[in-house]
Symmetry: C2
Subunit: 398 residues, 2 copies
DNA sequence: GGACTTCTTTCCACCAGAAAACCAATTCGA
DNA sequence: TCGAATTGGTTTTCTGGTGGAAAGAAGTCC
């Protein structure tokens, strides 16, 4: 009749209404929260809130917590919260050499972790490694969903269309893993995953728009605008890389002098510090030397910090955000040269601009894996059904 | 009771429902369009479409046009369109020295234009000039609303909080003009206005996310993401300015070597061409010389074009858009060095990225003023009421 | 203990949207 | 030339989500 001329499947499950989904999301994101606050936040009447939240209570997904803090007059609030027991997720960060996984609850709290060196980079081998890793993490728990984040291009949360680190093209990793695991699997770009995690459970909770910048092996960049993670077909291409930052800086392998890759990545800092010190230096060692006051190492990191600050200014100007989350394994930099970073970032912004909010997530590899778990959680929530049948678990049926 | 604890005004008029507004917007943006297409675009059933569009027909706001083009089998479509007669808008671009205004219809088609040199920059004097300009433009027509765009910071579409070109701070220009004109007046930042116009009536109609970059007296930057014009408190600060683009370029007045202001603005090109040619050169003259093959002038413009291309690449990477609209009085550059611009933009993007779509709006000052008109149109539409009273005009009452 | 305040639920009317049946206007084919 | 097929649009009827009013609940304050 209308728009259904192309044979559409017969609508498997009654999904959550839009408001019900927003309610679940708000309770999950904003911890114990009273119905009044929820109403203001979601623009819903108290009547609607009662109606919408009842099915969640019936299914045991929400609990009321007693609120000790409010001391004012009037009836005390009974804040809502999600029940954190029983539902577990696995998030995995897949890199060129290893897979790092965490077991989390509904809010990406890390309950356990494990890692595994990849035996090879073929799809079959990686799938086997991932299955083993997930088995190890979920030995004692039942896992509701698994998220895997990769540096590269992903479409439909299922297919790795391009992953240069692994040399993959158009690999349907989700199908391969689901077949072996019997649990929903979501694949997502690593920075997009991290952005999703920051948006729901991290620094992004307070800001509708923010950017995520990671440094480590490469420079990663993600963007959230108006509460939506921006996910384009270019997301996996390393858009934060090769941004010119320092005309006098070293040259990256692509020939750009002083670009973000040449100034910020671990290998760039290692090679620059090694060049000045006249010997091979590890990244952690370079940081330690600088922290101990070695002038050469410190100079390298300070130049790096200034470049990072300039990049932060560029991003906040051009993406029109005033909050930025810095993360990644290379963010140990922050502890040593935060002053240079902040100063360069300020210098690159208009003095009349709103104050810049820099949030540093020093979780390193763990943050990446938690990002993957966040993707799994978000997907699970979106697929949630609330049939009145009391025998059901309230979680998606497969 | 709910969210209304802060005394809110008693809700003056029943506004359009969200779907009705979306319908009006879609018909306005996408010209004559059949109900079927509208249903697909707005995700509405044909039944809803019939119900929603009836009041618009009753009020004479929509017309059905006979469609000659469709030749297929079945009943021919009767596309909907807005009636273009009778409703007129004025858009004004206010600069440091003059006000340029256009009279437009509902789709910002330019029906007339006028300009006026500002007698002085005091608020009273500028208001008087604007009133005279609007009077000149609307001599034979009744104007539904007036939009004014200024380079600077504007809040609430009414108050100019900061306009360095005019030396203004916290000037309620909307109130001042409405008092004199008796017609709704909207004030908006110039780039935001231009972005709004491109979104509804220009290159942005096809893209949900795009950037707007203008060069002229300064470098202007605006962003539309997911169909929303991004408007932060920093929008009026010239976020596209002072972006480092060429380490060997000339130095701007703020001391940045080769920044966007030093490479792209009219004064920058004039001074650089003047320096090389050894005499004063106007902007148009510099362009003409380059167009005629003068190697020195051409060199200046080519450097400028390469810088512009680099800026385009930076913007599309960091704002995650693949469409960009180039506009402003200085875009005559495009006709001479488009090759350099495109090449530099391509070089700054990942070779695997989606193809970049550059749209050049060479309307110059006229585009600015039409942007202001677009703001007035959008506001008028948002305030539209459709009371069943047949005596009403269907346009907002004041 | 009662007045007051605030949070939450119950009840009810309302409205937007959809399904299905129906009407309308054209092309195609015999 | 006239019906069948096809596509576009409308009317009717139904349903589910929504918010307002008022009642109920659970505290504090005097």
């Amino acid at each position: 009749m209308f728009g259904n001329t192309d044979a559409s499947p017969p609508l498997q499950q009654a999904p959550l209404s839009e408001s019900a989904l927003a309610l679940a999301r708000a309770v999950l994101m904003h911890g114990p929260i009273s119905r009044g606050d929820l109403g203001r936040r979601l623009q819903l009447s108290p009547a609607s809130l009662t109606r919408l939240s009842r099915p969640f209570f019936d299914r045991g997904l929400f609990v009321e917590v007693s609120d000790e803090s409010t001391t004012g007059v009037g009836r005390p609030t009974r804040p809502l919260d999600v029940r954190m027991d029983g539902r577990r997720f696995v998030g995995i960060k897949l890199t060129a050499d290893e897979a790092f996984g965490v077991l989390t609850d509904l809010r990406t709290t890390e309950l356990g972790s494990a890692e595994r060196t990849l035996a090879a980079r073929t799809v079959d081998s990686v799938v086997a490694d991932l299955v083993a890793l997930i088995g190890e993490l979920s030995a004692t728990e039942t896992v509701a969903a698994v998220g895997v984040s990769v540096g590269g291009n992903v479409t439909g949360a299922r297919v790795v269309t391009r992953a240069p680190f692994l040399g993959w093209r158009d690999v349907n990793l989700a199908d391969a893993l689901e077949e072996r695991l019997g649990v929903p699997v979501l694949i997502e770009n690593d920075v997009a995953s991290l952005a999703a995690a920051e948006q729901w459970f991290g620094a992004g909770r307070r800001a509708a728009s923010f950017a995520v910048l990671t440094i480590g092996v490469g420079v990663g960049y993600g963007l959230v605008v108006n509460d939506a993670v921006i996910s384009t077909r270019n997301s996996g291409l390393g858009l934060g890389g090769h941004v010119p930052l320092d005309p006098d800086g070293p040259v990256c392998e692509a020939g750009h002098p002083g670009c973000s890759d040449a100034m910020l990545t671990e290998s760039a800092i290692r090679s620059e510090a090694g060049r000045l010190l006249g010997r091979e230096v590890g990244y952690a060692e370079a940081l330690a030397l600088a922290g101990a006051g070695d002038p050469l190492a410190l100079g390298v990191l300070q130049a790096s910090g200034r470049a990072l600050g300039r990049l932060v200014a560029l991003i906040t100007n051009l993406a029109m955000v005033d909050t930025i989350v810095l993360s990644g394994e290379g963010m140990g930099l922050w502890n040593i040269v935060s002053a240079e970073i902040v100063q360069a970032a300020r210098a690159g912004r208009d003095p009349e601009a709103t104050p810049l909010e820099i949030s540093v997530d020093d979780g390193g590899t763990s943050s990446w894996a938690r990002g993957a778990a966040a993707v799994a959680i978000q997907h699970t929530l979106a697929r949630l059904t609330l049939d009145p049948d009391p025998r059901e678990t309230g979680w998606p049926r497969r």
